[in-house]
């Protein structure tokens, strides 16, 4: 472990704004990369089911 206390860890030796903003924004971009296809799939499945139901009702 490189840091003695938790406060030291968050302070990052005075470089806290740089380290935490870089990691924070990068993590956000990675999470977006997971969330976007998940939500798109959910929407596609819902749309397709509605379409299938509509076609079955029309027959």
């Amino acid at each position: 472990m490189n840091f003695a206390t938790l406060a030291d860890f968050f302070a990052m030796g005075g470089h806290a704004p740089y380290v935490w903003s870089a990691y924070g924004i990068s993590l956000l971009v990675l999470l977006l990369n997971v969330a976007v296809p998940l939500l798109a799939r959910r929407r596609y499945v819902a749309d397709e089911r509605r379409r299938i139901r509509r076609e079955e009702a029309a027959q």
Binding site: N2, F3, Y18, S26, A40, R41, E48
Partner: protein
Amino acid sequence: MNWTWFHKWGSPKWFYEMSGAWLKGFAIAACVLLAAGLVWALAIAPEDYQQGNSFRIIYIHVPAAFLAQSCYLMLAIAGIIGLVWKMKLADVALQCAAPIGASMTFIALLTGAVWGKPTWGAWWVWDARLTSMLILLFLYFGVIALSQAISNRDSAAKACAVLSIVGVINLPIIKYSVEWWNTLHQPATFKITEKPAMPMEMWLPLLIMVLGFYCFFATVLLMRMRLEVLKRESRTRWVRNEVEASR
């Protein structure tokens, strides 16, 4: 030589059925590697004697930059496969990888800027490495815009494949930019032929983060590709069954 393994990739149904298990494997590997890598990078690795703790940005900057370039190479290879063998899955891979590659390039540029401020004293300089990476980002945007601008799917696939293949010229420029124009960005710390210019306590977490980023890329790429395959095959029986079976 037996080409059955290659012809299988021509079947979207085969890909969809197989990729579910691959996706799970890559997702688990990505979670484990990124979690271990993050803790190691942020808390356990020693600080740099000159840069202090700001050097910890390397653990996302370098993996993201690796992936940004590998992903573009993948685009070009998919482009060649699509043009030569008319494989539809190659276009699916190309279209799905482009936004992921763009986001990785964005991460590399952003973390570079944030790292540059305390280290170089500037967020941005028109250094050769930085400029060629910015061009890579615009190439990704170009591929995404091009595929959306052409409504005919086959024409769009061809145009994107050509752009990806032509754009690959930027990759050696990125790689050698730090040697040809020796401005501000430092040369590569790691070379295949030499011992790393870094102690093991520092490069081991970096290696884990790089592997984690590659597994992450494979995971989100497969997620996007599986959805795209469903959309393109939406009129077939098997997709209909798949839609009705999933929540």
